[in-house]
Subunit: 178 residues, 4 copies
């Protein structure tokens, strides 16, 4: 990716994350990125192509996350790691996660392949732990993860992440109790 392509992608990501894909015009992206509008289309074909490029970059980051989790020793550690994922998102990755979460609610654009690897890890972990209903347990864990991420991403200034994590950890033995 050239520098200008990166500028476009970064700018678009931030704008999409804050305002939503449809609420951001290509003109606005171009202006804020300091490039001509035409350049967006030369590099990404169309607005959706730009979104896809952004999502692909994000999907690669998620894949990295997954790999790091998969090498953990025990299923319990894996589950805990996923549950704590929201707490380890760096601030500069917030826009991507905001975008991903926002798109979930628009069935024209949402492609859930990006997050699928994470679900697989959890489901396998519960199976390894011989849970009778690994799918349901997975749903519960992911719902919790999802809710925590939402809280952190949207209320970052108000929520005390450390306090939240500390309190969450006290509940682990119960969360995992069969």
């Amino acid at each position: 990716m050239t520098e200008k392509q990166l500028q476009i992608v970064e700018t678009a990501l931030h704008l999409f994350a804050e305002m939503g894909f449809d609420a951001v015009s290509t003109n606005k992206i171009a202006q804020e990125a300091g490039v001509s509008e035409g350049l967006i289309f030369r590099h990404f074909q169309n607005k959706l192509g730009l979104l896809n490029a952004i999502m692909q970059i994000g999907a690669e980051k998620i894949a990295l996350f997954s790999e790091q989790i998969e090498i953990l020793a025990t299923p319990e550690e894996k589950i805990q790691a996923v549950l704590e994922l929201p707490f380890h998102i760096k601030e500069d990755e917030y826009p991507f996660w905001k975008l991903l979460n926002g798109l979930k609610w628009q069935n024209q654009y949402y492609d859930q392949t990006a997050v699928a690897p994470i679900r697989n890890i959890i489901e396998k972990a519960f199976k390894d732990m011989n849970y009778s209903n690994p799918t349901t347990e997975t749903d519960l864990i992911l719902a919790y993860t999802d809710g925590l991420a939402t809280s952190i991403l949207l209320k970052s200034t108000e929520v005390d992440k450390n306090e939240l994590l500390k309190t969450l950890r006290k509940k682990y033995n119960w969360i995992l109790k069969k």
Copy 2:
């Protein structure tokens, strides 16, 4: 509200919920509602006015929920009731909740006054139970609620709600453990 106003509101709600506010044109709403485009503006001033009307109706429903919860006897029951809210959303209320969740990620449109009453209930419940950190506990409960709602709303066909609720309930004593 006249019948035509209702048609407009209902149609818009469904479309907004599935596609997102910005992705739905007033023309599309008018067509699907079987009314003229002008009528939307006569009744709701502008597109945002229509959204506000929808949100107000929804806020009233949430207020009803809140009232029903507030009359419960113990704080534990209240917390449990909130946590189980997602399981009691009727299918015809899905669109409103989808819309609300989608809008959360677009800071131009989101108004969180609608859901504030619920937070107040939980926070007060934890205080009544003499928790040392009621705010954090509230955040955790609401995050879980939020995640469960997301799961149910977006994967309604795949998720077995009964199974999920049964498994969730097994964890209550721990969830609430100080």
Copy 3:
């Protein structure tokens, strides 16, 4: 058709005829027609829809021509009538014929169904006259008609139509000779 629709169709026809379909912008049509650009799309969906509307109107005129020719008594009269068609095009119909001729050379847009009825008349006439090769004779007549139309439409100021017709008529007995 409302008055504004007619204005659009008329203006577009003239511009398309003089400059070619692709060389005329919808903005230009709107300005010259004294309407907003949006109105073109409300009434005709898109630029091609506008072209189709124009062509349909023209096709109806051609159909009228055909009917008038078909009621002639003898095959010879019919052939002569077709050959003289170019001389009877009224000035206000020039734009349509210019457009039709220009489009012939662009295989994206050309639809030859409009002129098909005329060919049928000629071919049948030659059959009725027991020509051994009615198809070829038809090709020759239509080529001549086509060339005459081209000459008249493009060089109207320079060509003396009366003189041309007079000279043409001297050749009829030979043109039709088997």
Copy 4:
């Protein structure tokens, strides 16, 4: 002309001929010619310059035709030769003639100097034959030529050129009759 220049000219000619000058983008020409878009402008200044280059090459070919006709012995032979020109266009010259014919109908682009020499030959021939109205006779011959060319160029697959020429030739004595 370098090889790349030729590629550009050839490709552009074919595309212009099939789709029309305005309907072909320089980008498309570059892609189909396998060169960069910038090269078109280095060699031909602008899109119109490319068209002019094409037309000039064609004009030279027409000039060659003219010379071959002018050396014929009698005026009758010359007229016949022009009338039969369409039958002697080689398939690889079709695109140029198609382009020329298409441009006739777009008064921004059309330059009729290319075909002027042919008209002069005919007009002189009729004068040499002491026709009283050589201009009108010329118009008729050229209209016929033009119509025949149109038929051959646009319906090459359907029209049997040999049959057409044979039938045409039967009519010569009459065509030329004063």
